[in-house]
Symmetry: C2
Subunit: 357 residues, 2 copies
């Protein structure tokens, strides 16, 4: 029986539609009999169907941050000009996921392994079959969204005119894989997780809190904490204010991650660890990136602790014609949440220039 | 009954002496009736007693790395010229510690809270009472050893001629405190820890392994892993070789930390989180650092993920006459282990110039 978790609702995340693409075979051998993708669209597809922008989502995130921060009039992702499609990850909590499926063969601990390539193939099918979109003006995503962006550009070079991976890599680094393991083990070490067979995410609260605590260290930066930047961040709930950094950690970061579904996080984390476009070219990263024909701008964030600019820049150097623009956020990787107007302006400038090119 | 753990032995760590300084009252209110400090000395104290160098130790470490890497002919810390005293931390496993004491009032979970200031006061007493040393030519330490180095320079300005804090801060940052929490919670979340009342550290293996896994992420760097720098590191044991990064993580990093005592790590971690010289000046960091009369060279390591150069440099700016020399190691914070001859040469050059000044 599906678990009701209010975090995964239109009320919490913003409107979306569940669109089925039917039976879907996964790269690791599993099958989802009726894959439903949670899709949020902004703007109108034009008759030529050449104004579509795809946004894949990041670990633990949904379309919410995109419409709240990046999409709107005055932004590069302007719905009056573009048809913007945000597709939530398979297994991420809104699309078909361990805790929401009513198919017992894939529920909870039986959910199959999903790869970045599965998400990208599912998105391609969705865009083609449901919307009739054959080419994308832009694919843009952050973190695991960047992994999917790279995968799109390598896997479907003819379909991607432009690509903007933000704070993420085409090939996951060993450090990143080790980091993700600490996140996942924080959850699975909680006896309440019970091999994935809990009946409420609240039974895994200790594990989710440890998971959140690791995010507070790796997702943010020493400067974020030292300058008390969090004082300028609005509470997630008026009842959850904070006046010390410990309270911010408790009432914001822990609160956020403890609202999520453990098996969804584990599904995404497993996928993240294995993101690697080189799989499409017999393990040869340069060969894979060499296939890209999209105009690519690589957008790492300074101070990012696990997708540092140097790792992103090394991949840009292997990508024909790619350029790099470093983004700046005191929040490091979590700069993706758009805490700073200056950061959002940098993203808008980079995407605006790319879309005009 | 004390727990026998071969990691905490002269065979494993190198020769040392247990020197008692008697009853010792701790800042947090606890008492150690017979505080024994594990002390390793190198060289001879001269008649003027003005050639003494003190080295306090870092989290999880002992005097071992110091004699293996930093001390010897050809190094700045040359025993033919200097009398070098390495004092292992209270509660760190070799000095009086939770798992080794035969005093039931402080054994295991009853071990009192220890602060950086306690270590420094104990070291001062030891040097004065046992060796007759009233002034130190140099205090040098890395990480938590840097915390103690700063504390020495602020607390006993007349006794410290020179100070060289490597990869550590005078005031722990919030980020660092949050990071340390993830390390400690990895241990205490293991049911085998049993509130600190295990009978062998092997009962806490899962927690120690998770603890090690977090170190692999924060103690090292993306470059260390990506370049497979570990291929040049000798195994800790010939039976524990490695040819993949997963094997290095398993056979080196996990093996190392899983050899240690959980309660000792927790004692040190609690202490680390609260390192703060501002406590000596009513919370005013600038006032505390302003008391320093020692010649100070601050030695942060580039790529250090939790004591980054900017945090160390901010403190140097508050310290009269202090200079900064950035050290370089692909291993980040774990550069302290001296994997690279170039790094050791940088330390020797900085300490040599300081000692000659």
């Amino acid at each position: 029986m599906p678990i009701d978790n209010p975090f995964y609702s239109a009320q919490a995340q913003g409107d979306y539609a569940l669109l089925s693409i039917g039976r879907f075979e996964l790269e690791e051998g599993g099958v989802i009999e009726d894959l439903q993708l949670a899709v949020a669209t902004y703007g109108e597809l034009n008759e030529a169907k050449d104004n579509a922008i795809l946004v894949p989502t990041w670990f633990s995130g949904t379309h919410a941050t995109w419409w709240q921060v990046y999409i709107g009039e005055g932004h590069a992702l302007d719905p009056s000009r573009w048809f913007i499609v945000v597709v939530n990850q398979i297994g991420g909590g809104l699309s078909t996921s361990p805790h929401t499926t009513d198919d017992p063969s894939i529920a909870m601990s039986r959910f199959p392994k999903v790869r970045i390539g599965d998400d990208v193939r599912a998105q391609e099918q969705l865009l083609r079959e449901v919307f009739g979109i054959e080419r994308l003006a832009l694919v843009v995503g952050g973190s695991m969204g960047a992994q999917q962006t790279w995968e799109w550009a390598v896997r479907f070079p003819d379909k991607v005119l432009r690509a903007a991976p933000i704070a993420g890599t085409a090939q996951n680094t060993p450090h990143d894989t080790l980091f993700t393991r600490t996140l996942l083990d924080a959850i699975t070490s909680d006896p309440g997780w019970n091999g994935g067979e809990y009946t409420s995410h609240t039974q895994v609260r200790d594990g989710l809190a440890r998971h959140a605590d690791i995010w507070a260290v790796m997702g943010l930066t020493t400067d974020f904490w030292k300058t008390e930047f969090w004082r300028g961040i609005p509470p997630l709930d008026p009842a959850l204010s904070f006046s010390t950094y410990e309270e911010f950690q408790q009432n914001f970061i822990r609160f956020l991650f403890c609202s999520m579904d453990p098996d969804a996080l584990l599904c995404m984390g497993w996928k993240w660890q294995r993101g690697d476009v080189a799989r499409l070219a017999d393990g040869d990263l340069a060969a894979a990136l060499g296939r890209i024909t999209a105009r690519v701008v690589v957008l790492p964030i300074e101070q990012d602790m696990f997708f540092p600019p140097r790792d992103c820049e090394a991949e840009a150097a292997l990508t024909p014609g790619a350029t790099v623009t470093r983004l700046h956020s005191i929040a490091g990787h979590f700069g993706l949440f758009g805490f700073e107007a200056s950061y959002v302006a940098e993203v808008d400038a980079a995407l605006g220039a790319l879309l005009d090119a």
